[in-house]
């Protein structure tokens, strides 16, 4: 299992990287955990690989303007173990800790993960629940897209040729008043989410004053379950609200889980995540 030959570039600045990918023919290598297995199986055979590993300034976690900014080359482990993420955005830390295994988290990056847009990846669920935005850059400019617009379909994003994921920006929950939880049913072999539910909730006067529910694994792309959010008026609504998570969804089906089962697991895991999130509110 050996990749085909390719031309390799390891730019040492963002400008150089953007220039190298500007004609849209090169494939960007971040952590490599999505791309390299495909190349080994020869399902992917890019002629030119541009490795972002040596581009400085793409790996950071910082708080700015009430948001957390996370550089595209920040690894899952950095996110999982960051004190800043734990205190400001614990949902993201919890989600990162569920990805793959230790080795994968050490090498895999948030930018690589979102750009690959695997329908069963963990991050998108959390990013949807965190009202995340994805900042994209090209040689000539940049744009910022909400995560739900960035994710288009199975393995398909809004990335245009020549464009790169520069950073992911997420909301922060500074006061401990936001409950959070990521729960997933993992595929026994691959560890990918059969379904995963990432939620954030706040309470006020016995009512749920704020909720965000991001779901992965269920549909061709991760999505925000706004139906659940609107049904969740009080903590007692968890079961009925979670019951709506698959409404109108054309669910995925594979050997591990039929569409029907996936829908039901989405309901179960959404309810469990919501219950735990509510219980966690300080």
């Amino acid at each position: 299992m050996i990749p085909q030959e390719f031309e390799y570039s390891a730019p040492t600045s963002l400008e150089e990287a953007l220039h190298l990918i500007s004609d849209g023919s090169a494939k960007v290598l971040a952590g490599g955990l999505s791309l390299i297995p495909l190349m080994k199986l020869r399902l992917a055979a890019p002629g030119h690989v541009v490795d972002l590993g040596r581009v400085p300034g793409l790996s950071y976690i910082r708080e700015e303007g009430g948001k957390l900014h996370i550089g595209a080359m920040t690894t899952h482990y950095q996110i999982e173990s960051s004190a800043l993420v734990h205190s400001r955005c614990p949902l993201l830390a919890e989600t990162a800790a569920h990805i793959g295994d230790v080795q994968v988290r050490n090498a895999g990056t948030i930018g690589g993960s979102v750009a690959h847009a695997d329908p069963a990846a963990d991050y998108p669920a959390a990013l949807l629940a965190l009202d995340a935005q994805v900042r994209l850059v090209t040689a000539s400019g940049e744009r910022t897209l909400p995560i739900q617009d960035f994710l288009v379909d199975t393995l398909t994003t809004a990335l245009e040729p020549g464009e790169l994921v520069a950073e992911v920006i997420v909301d922060v929950d500074v006061d401990g008043a936001t409950g959070f939880c990521y729960q997933k049913m993992a595929h026994a072999a691959s560890g990918f989410a059969i379904v995963g539910a990432a939620v954030r909730v706040r309470r006020s006067n016995g009512r749920v004053s704020f909720s965000r529910v991001g779901i992965t694994g269920l549909a061709p792309k991760a999505f925000r379950a706004t139906g659940v959010e609107s049904l969740l008026q009080t903590p007692d609504d968890v079961a009925s609200a979670a019951g709506a998570v698959a409404d109108g969804i054309e669910a995925n089906s594979d050997l591990a889980a039929s569409a029907e089962y996936r829908c039901q697991m989405a309901r179960v895991y959404t309810a469990r995540a919501l219950r735990q999130a509510l219980a966690r509110i300080a």
């Binding site: 050996i2 020869r42 595929h187 072999a189 050997l255 591990a256 089962y261």
Partner: protein
Amino acid sequence: MSMATTVTKAETLVGRRLRRKEDPRLITGTATYVDDIQMPGMHYAAILRSPHAAARIRSLNVQPALDHPGVAAVFTGADVAGVGPVPCGASLPGLRVPAHSVLARDRVYFVGHPVAVVVATDRYVAADALDLIEVEYQPLPAVANPEKALEPGAPAVHPEWPDNLAFTYHQEGGEPDRAFAEADVVVRQRIISQRLIPTAMETRGVVADYRGAEKSLTIYSSTQIPHLMRSLVAQMLGLAENRLRVITPEVGGGFGSKLNVYAEEALMGFVAMKIGKPVKWIESRRENFQCTIHGRGHVDYYEIAARKDGAVLGLRLKLIQDLGAYHQLLTPAIPTLSVLMMPGLYKFRNVSADILGVFTNCVPTDAYRGAGRPEATHGVERMMDLLAAELRMDPAELRLLNFIGADEFPYATATGLSYDSGNYAEPLKKALDLVDYHRLREQQQQAKASGRLVGIGISTYGEICAFGPSPATPAGGWESATVKIEPSGAVTVMTGASPHGQGEETTFAQIAADELGVPIEDVIVVHGDTAIVQYGIGTFGSRGTAVGGPAVYYALQDLKAKILKFGELLLESSDVTFSGGVCTCNRTGKTVTLAQIAAASYRAMKLPPNTEPGLVATHFWEPPNFAFPFGAHIVVSEVDPETGQVEIKRYVAVDDCGKIINPLLVDGQVHGGVVQGLGQALFEQAVYDQDGQLVTGELMDYAVPKATMVPWIESDHTTTPSPVNPLGVKGVGEAGTIGCSPAVVNSVVDALGHLGVRHLDMPLTPEKLWKLIQAGGQA
């Protein structure tokens, strides 16, 4: 040397929890597996494999690959016409044996069927060139399911046998028809033991090195059977057996999947002889899943006849074995082992079994950990639970009622075996005590009352192992050992059993060190090289220690007799004892050490009468019978009613494998075995789609248990020595696997019994259980 030290018997090593002698090289990364071998001028081979389950090869153009820089040669089916067929070592009356060429000729029969081999200067070039070969296939209808293959009009796997039947086999004991006629109760069930992928962590690999001037070929192969491989591959290649040397370097797991001779071993030998350079082929994981044998693949129809007091009377089995497209070394023999062991530990005096061996367009099945016995145990243990449910008896009581009595050994079974020794109630009682069974049942009732799905599953198993007496084993069932004491007194044991992780370098050293009274550090155990080791059968069927061990023991006895003769000579006495590594004259107390004796034996200034110089002894030990370990496993499981996920709350295994040489290693075998059984019970399944595509083609889809997926295993033992060998050992390599799957399934059926569930087929995937729970809820 003082008398006191010379007469003190050394502390025995047998029975102690010793850490292994083989580990230092393995924990430092310095062991040599096949892929670690590098040779000057070595070439690499890559194999083109069929993407179709059944197709005619319309055309094959290898020229573009040959033209690729760095490619030394490309061979196809036409080139290997002179290489003999991949051997089937099993014989059954009327067995149909398809011609099994090392490369496909004009037709392919399963996904992964080798079509061509590319040989290049490095593995990267070989992979590139492989993509350049042009093959035009004409796809043909395929059949991947053995029951579908038996239906009229099903696609014929081999056109010459349109019924897809490789063989039928009938075995009967007692009067089954009468037993069923007289029974108060008959319980029937269709039980599936699904196809499994053995998944040794090291895939297969071969390095072949041919020296033309000497006409000698060396094959390095990751195999469990180096000597058998030498004999069979020499035949395939038309080589004199003494011109072929097979070396088994470190082997990264086998579980039966390397108890075979595959196309690639002969193919690489052929390639090395053609190109005059060493060549290496390392199987990819994808190839391993597609082309290395699978295990199980049964559809069993069981019937059990009993009296209403619970006494079992008879057992009937119709066994449909999915053989795959070809016979590998033992393929057709595996289901016959299921038949032999179908009565389990019970007094079934009347049995009848029919096997239908069925061709499918899949990779062949063959021996996988347990090989036939897990299927049999799963069947009879499920049937006992079904009978218990039918009679509203406690499953433990039903078993205790029907066990063969401890006073009935040796026990002649209705399938023609003679069980060597046993006390079957003892491990079950011990396991019941360990879980505090009666309290556990009460707790279960409480849990169920509160809506929790808690189940208790019992399995008791008997295993045929220590393969085996030669008349019952295709290539001979003996094992050999040579023990050599060097002039310095250092001891080398050479065993024909070629272990691959079981730890016989340690257990055999324990035996040798005890017998000779030398420190274990002075003993090394050598195996896996046909040029060094006399001959051997190999390690499989839980025979390494149980057959290889006695061979070592008897070689040591021969050697001790010779040592004593030299002792008598040197001590000039006829009243000499050899103990603790020294010969002592019982009259004078004078001593002579083993090293002194060894030196004298080689120096040979003076020899005892009728005695050759040197201290070497070889023993080929023929076991008089199999050994039959047994045990009881109890599982407490809980099913999540919302998701169908099974959690194993407790796993208790009480195994009786006879005398234990190294309890640490036995525990390791039990744990590993149990987890493989658990893999079958809960997670693993090789899935072919209707067209014969293997859709669980990588470890991304085929779920081998991970550390987080398995429970803590509480392991204990009873000890019933085997009378068939001087060590009293039985064998434990497969026990865990055999005992496990029915215990797990019985526990889950028990958890869901109140919903009307009486049987579940493996693997118990969450969705399967969830659907049943849903249906039960509605019912």
